[in-house]
Symmetry: C2
Subunit: 220 residues, 2 copies
């Protein structure tokens, strides 16, 4: 599975973003993409290879009504990258889990109505209806975005509060950094994860955690 870092590297290229936009619409083959974007086939091939290697897209072979089979590319599975940057909060997040429909409908009963509308237009197949339903969905999405922003702003406040509290303790910079990550993780973090987040070796993390325990700041 691609990491959020790798995904940002992939998306930091305009051509790749345009290719992904085309593939999100429907599966396509190399010469088709090259012609739609008016870019050489070799360059397109390189981008397709990189994105396939990271598992963002996936090639498959499809028989043609006439002539030999052709290699198509499609978006591999559900990718979702979220990026938040604000004073006090920097986060890159990849969602790769499936949606747990049952718990969502319990938590947001109003979604049943939206689901029914979508099923309805899939049956009656009228474009004007689709337009209206899509507008309703966009409004719901905007409501959820606002809600997420609000929760994230509360999280930023707690983080700032933690930084202030920790800054007031008699600890060295590395100890402060490790303590912050442990607190923010809610205590549910492995030594490997702390090491990864603080960019410090695991042995140093273990040593630091022992010191923090001796000072009575954490319980291991």
């Amino acid at each position: 599975m691609v990491s959020s870092e790798e995904l940002l590297d992939i998306l930091g290229n305009e051509t790749r973003r345009m290719i992904l936009e085309l593939l999100a619409e429907k599966p396509r083959y190399t010469t088709e993409i090259a012609s739609l974007l008016d870019i050489g086939q070799k360059a397109i091939n390189d981008h397709l290879r990189i994105m396939s290697e990271f598992g963002v897209i996936e090639p498959y072979v499809q028989k043609q009504p006439r002539g030999s089979p052709r290699k198509y590319f499609k978006v591999n599975e559900r990718f979702k990258l979220e990026f938040t940057l604000t004073p006090g909060f920097f986060q890159v997040y990849i969602l790769d889990s499936d949606v747990d429909l049952k718990s969502i409908l319990e938590s947001f009963p109003e979604f049943r109505e939206l689901q029914k509308k979508v099923e309805h237009i899939e049956n009656i197949r009228r474009i004007e209806q689709s337009r209206k339903v899509y507008r309703d969905l966009r409004e719901e999405l905007s409501r959820l975005r606002q809600a997420k922003m609000y929760v994230e702003s509360l999280m930023a406040r707690v983080r700032q509060q933690c930084i202030k509290l920790i800054d007031g303790l008699d600890l060295d910079p590395v100890e402060k950094r490790v303590l912050f990550e442990v607190v923010i993780a809610g205590g549910e973090i492995t030594k490997e994860e702390v090491a990864e987040k603080c960019k410090i070796s695991e042995e140093d993390i273990i040593q630091t955690l022992r010191t923090l325990e001796k000072k009575g700041v954490v319980r291991l």
Copy 2:
């Protein structure tokens, strides 16, 4: 204001992501960043300049207790980039609006409780409390993420449905493309925006919309 395309270009660089992570914590100065990341000051300066030009970060001068004033950088304002890629759905979204607290609390009354908890820990200043409140906030964020994923999956279904319906109409590829963007926008889209999305000149858009009107598919 930086565009989502520009922001992805900025984030497609590991050093810049590390700088943003440091600045999200608190304002810092160039030599401090260079030393924390163990990267040459010239390179750091270049990244800081690029990000300042795009308005992602902001320099300011601060007097020092001793010596001459020093130039600091801070995260400029609220940036939030969301990226969604899934078969049938590709979207990059920047949020730059402020949160409308009143309408959020009406829509999500359960947030009042979370807000009270955050205010409480800001008063009592205990790290163990912060840890618990942060965990509650993370759970709420995860619930909202799931809800957004679900709404986006419904949107993908409607988009796929529209593409199928439009593909069945007797229209040329450009007419189909323009019609899709108009439908998905819920009818509330300017000619300039359609031109931007379809990467076609405005004159061609006007011409295409006229043809679509003659064919009885849209009303201008």
